[in-house]
């Protein structure tokens, strides 16, 4: 996988099912019957990974929900996206570099 940037667009893999409960998310990857528990930011990242919006747009959407500075939020979201992609929960569908975002 190429490195993740603010321009990367992810979607949830088709075999991922999840439930949000009291801020957390329980994620089940069907093909492997793996179960993960994600915290609130991780759960939000799953919600937002629709194959349409870039990581930058996720951060913009989340900035109103979390009382943290933009730099920390961006770092956390990028880290979560990387972990979820590594775990096979997300797949990259595009990278909207500066030209396509312009």
């Amino acid at each position: 996988m190429s490195s993740i940037t603010l321009s990367t667009v992810f979607r949830r893999r088709s075999d991922v099912r999840y439930r949000r409960i009291e801020g957390e998310a329980v994620v089940l990857r069907q093909s492997a019957a793996e179960v993960l528990v994600l915290n609130e930011v991780g759960a939000s990242v799953l919600d937002l990974a629709d194959g349409e919006h870039s990581v930058r747009e996720w951060i913009e959407a989340l900035s109103g929900e979390y009382e943290t500075d933009a730099e920390t939020l961006a770092r956390d979201v990028l880290a979560f996206a990387g972990e979820l992609a590594e775990a096979g929960m997300l797949e990259e569908v595009a990278d909207r570099g500066p030209e396509s975002e312009a």
């Binding site: 439930r19 409960i21 009291e22 957390e24 329980v26 089940l28 993960l36 528990v37």
Partner: protein
């Protein structure tokens, strides 16, 4: 490897529907959670072996049943011989919206929904313990699907009771289900099973239901078949005894991981998540670190309702 390759000589000839030559005309009804289940097409020796294995749970053949299982002959040549030294028992499964196919040691089987659940089992085993084990291995899967359809679940777990309520102890292999069951047993608890238990919805608290797949420590069948479930506990071995509440999400994750067979079926994942989410929300859940010191049972009984 394709479905059935590890067990069947001709996987492409897997029965496409529930039909074939029955072993005989005997039948019986098993009064097990999610049932009753009628098992038909049995030879006399097969019926006798099932009755022996499920002693106390067999009802007259005329008893009304919710699920019908038909048993058929299959030639021994249809099955591959395997070296079972060091082999951990497993089934090969293929899932679809309306059926589940199973292949295993000297068995082919189907679950079909049309729309109610029916079962078909093909084997070359005519009698005895080998046959009874084949039937039980299939019946475990069928019961797990049947209970999911009834809003419940079969769970790899230990179930312990004080005769009034029950506690469900979860954890992966090696987490201490049998050890904790033994500790409770030594302090006067009864063990429903230290292997597989069922949970079914009920007014008030969900109920922990005894299954005849009892593991090593369960007492003989008898007594109330189910108890109100007081708590779900995720087991961790330690050097002290400690109880810590866990979130409903953490409880749900533990429950999903403990739901055999159905947690590998992508067509039933939404139903499984929904069912177990309701359970996780309705019963207190804890992480229980326990030692061999023996305080486990007292901790369980002190959990508030």
């Amino acid at each position: 490897m394709s479905f059935g390759d590890g067990f069947l000589r001709f996987p492409d000839l897997f029965p496409g529907r529930r039909g074939g030559e029955p072993w005989g005309e005997r039948s019986l009804v098993l009064d097990v959670a999610g049932g009753p289940y009628r098992v038909a097409g049995l030879a006399a020796a097969q019926e006798e072996a099932v009755r022996r294995k499920f002693d106390g749970l067999c009802r007259a053949a005329g008893t009304a049943a919710a699920v019908a299982i038909q048993v058929f002959r299959a030639p021994a040549a249809d099955f591959l011989e395997r070296d079972v030294r060091g082999w951990e028992y497993m089934l090969d499964m293929e899932h679809s919206r309306s059926s589940v196919l199973l292949a295993g040691m000297r068995l082919m089987a189907r679950l079909d929904w049309a729309p109610g659940l029916t079962g078909g089992l093909w084997t070359c085993e005519a009698a005895g313990e080998e046959w009874a084990s084949i039937f039980e291995n299939y019946f475990r899967v069928l019961a797990a699907y049947r209970l999911l359809g009834a809003g419940g679940a079969v769970l790899h777990s230990a179930g312990v009771s004080d005769g009034t309520s029950a506690w469900l102890l979860l954890g992966p292999s090696g987490a201490g289900k049998s050890t904790s069951s033994r500790l409770c047993l030594e302090r006067g608890a009864s063990v429903l099973s230290d292997d597989l238990n069922a949970v079914l919805p009920a007014a008030g608290a969900p109920r922990l239901v005894r299954l005849p797949f009892a593991g090593d420590l369960a007492g003989p069948p008898g007594g109330p078949p189910s108890y109100p479930l007081k708590a779900v506990l995720r087991l961790v071995k330690g050097t002290e005894d400690r109880l810590r509440p866990i979130s409903p999400a953490a409880a749900l994750a533990g429950l999903v991981a403990a739901a055999p067979f159905v947690n590998h079926d992508p067509w039933r994942h939404e139903a499984l998540l929904g069912t177990l989410e309701r359970l996780a929300r309705s019963v207190p859940a804890y992480e229980l670190v326990f030692s061999l010191g023996g305080g486990l049972w007292d901790i369980l009984r002190a959990i508030p309702a």
